[in-house]
Every structure is written in structure tokens, then in C-alpha cells.
Assembly symmetry: C2
Homo-oligomer: 184 residues x 2
């Protein structure tokens, strides 16, 4: 372990790195907006809407880790551009079911990644174990900071080399009901 003075150093460095990362994400979001007309959160939301066929707004919010209020604003902008459609739920008329329009899917097909190309290229040049280590560390930090928010979902564990990593064991494949976020 480190002494208290070193801990202060460590804290500051972590804070600085996180701030740098957040800024980079924000800047890339604005660049996305210029290039394809969608900001980062909008693109992430549209992708998730398209992946699942028809989702409630709250489920959507949880999937992309946003509050419901923020999701409302994003959906408003997406809807205003005709990229998604809002429908009232049949059985439960409180819920709003969101679905991607044809235009939305078309835009999505042309949209770039949520990560900068530069970053992806650099990442691709790394060895697989390095990629997984970085992901694991990122997830670990997220979990450590997220913990107070009660997320029981286990995340990526870097397995010894014999595990067949066809699919990384984090988010389950689409199954629309079991959201992995069931804390009520």
C-alpha cells in the first residue's frame, strides 16, 4: 500500500485522468454531431433502440446508464428528427415504447463508432491481453465507483487463456425482459 501522501497523489492523478477521459468523450461527441448529426448519447440511445426492437423509455435509460429525465430530452430530439417513434404501451398505457423509424435505421447504418477512430486503431494494435486488461481495469474502476448505486451485475473477469472468448460475459444477448438491472 502507499502512504497517505502518496494516496493524495494517486487520488489527484486519478481525478485528472478521469477528467481528461470525460473531456475526450465530450469532444468526440461534438465531432460526431458534426459528422453524422447525432451526438454520443443520441447515437448510443438510437443504437440501443435498434438493437432491441421496441423498448420502454425507462429500460432504455437503464441500458445506456442515463436518468429518466435525461432520456426524455434525448428522445425528444431524436423524435423531432424523425429517427425514433414513441408509442403508448398496449397493456400498460403509462409506458412509452420507443422504436427506430426507417430513417433512424438508415442513419444508424451510416453512423460511425462511439469511440474515436484514433482510439480504436490504437486499441487494435495492442495485444489481446492488453485490450482485456484495459477493459477489465476500466470496468473495475466503474464498478468501484458505481457500487453505491447498488449494481449487483458481475462484470468481465479476465479468464485464463483456455476460456473460449467468443462472447465476453457481460451484457446478456438481447433477451428483452431480463435486463440485468433488476433492483426494485
Amino acid at each position: 500500500m502507499l502512504g497517505p501522501s502518496d494516496d493524495l497523489q494517486l487520488d489527484d492523478l486519478i481525478v485528472a485522468a478521469i477528467r481528461r477521459l470525460m473531456r475526450a468523450v465530450d469532444l468526440h461527441s461534438r465531432r460526431l454531431a458534426e459528422e453524422c448529426g447525432l451526438t454520443g448519447p443520441q447515437l448510443a440511445t438510437l443504437r440501443e433502440v435498434d438493437r432491441r426492437r421496441s423498448v420502454s423509455a425507462s429500460t432504455l435509460a437503464r441500458s445506456v446508464h442515463l436518468s429518466g429525465a435525461t432520456m426524455t430530452g434525448i428522445l425528444n430530439r431524436l423524435e423531432k428528427r424523425g429517427l425514433v417513434a414513441r408509442t403508448r404501451g398496449e397493456q400498460d398505457r403509462r409506458t412509452i415504447l420507443v422504436s427506430a423509424t426507417d430513417l433512424g435505421q438508415a442513419v444508424l447504418a451510416r453512423a460511425p463508432s462511439l469511440l474515436q477512430d484514433e482510439f480504436r486503431e490504437r486499441l487494435e494494435r495492442l495485444e489481446a491481453w492488453e485490450q482485456l486488461m484495459m477493459l477489465a481495469n476500466l470496468q473495475r474502476i466503474a464498478s468501484m465507483m458505481d457500487a453505491e448505486a447498488l449494481d449487483a451485475a458481475p462484470h468481465l473477469i479476465v479468464e485464463p487463456p483456455d476460456a473460449t472468448n467468443e462472447r465476453l460475459p457481460s451484457e446478456p444477448p438481447v433477451s428483452p425482459g431480463d435486463d440485468a438491472f433488476r433492483h426494485n
Copy 2:
């Protein structure tokens, strides 16, 4: 390396982890605001103002990795509460020199860390090499995403309260590979 389909998975997991991290930071910022009256960016700014004795607004913005426009808003709120004071530069009357008031220093002395206590406790329980690995990975990711912004310098060492307004790239150059493991 991983195949293209796994890369897509990797991208998505990284995006999700980053989003989770950003949300956690935001939530902690709001908690800070309730507890000590200062949000995360405000506290970070006030700390930096106090550390250096008197800084220009632009230097401050670069130090905490914010744009000048954002810094203006934060300084407005800090000034309105009497925590910092703005003064015109003597030689260069374009610059705004920011300094912490007595009240600002008093508030600062009582303010908690920018990181959640939960996170810090968890971090402290880890071995030193693990702490450094996590920091190094975080800095590496930040650098990889930051690179396009020409910043390129992962500042491992917290700069001394130099007060001399340094020019552009500013941050002490550190070879990007071993940045986390340089003790001095």
C-alpha cells in the same frame, strides 16, 4: 488480437464502462454539492486556485481540463459565493487573475475528496501494484483518447505551484509508456 466481431463487443463494453464511470462521477458531484456546497468541477477549480497562488483563467482551464467558456461559468458561481476573487492582470490587462479568498480557503479545508469515500477505501485496500496498474491503465486510455486533442502529455506528476504562466503544451513531457511508474 481479437477478431472484428469481438472488437465490436470490446468497443461496446468500453463505452458502457466509460458511461458508467461518468455517471458515477456526476452523481458524486451532486452529493458533494449537498454536503459541502461545491460541485466536483467547482471544488477541483477551487483546489487548483488555492494550490497555485494566483492563476489566469485560461491556465486554470487547462489545469483542470476544461474549456475557457466552462471555466467562466464556474468562476462566476465561485465568485458569487465569495470563494474566489477576480483581478485584472497588472502587466496584461486582458488576463483575469483568480485567487482564493479567506472564505474559499476555509471552505476548502473542510471539503472532502473529489473521489467517493467508498471508492477510496476500496482503492486503499488494494496492493500498491494494483493501484498503480489501475492508474496507468486509466491514464493510458485517457491518453489514447486525448491524443487527437494534441495534448499528448500524460501528466503523472502534479505540477508544482509554479505560478509562472506556462505556455502551450505546458505539462512536463513524460514518455507515454512508463508514465505511472516514475517516482521523483
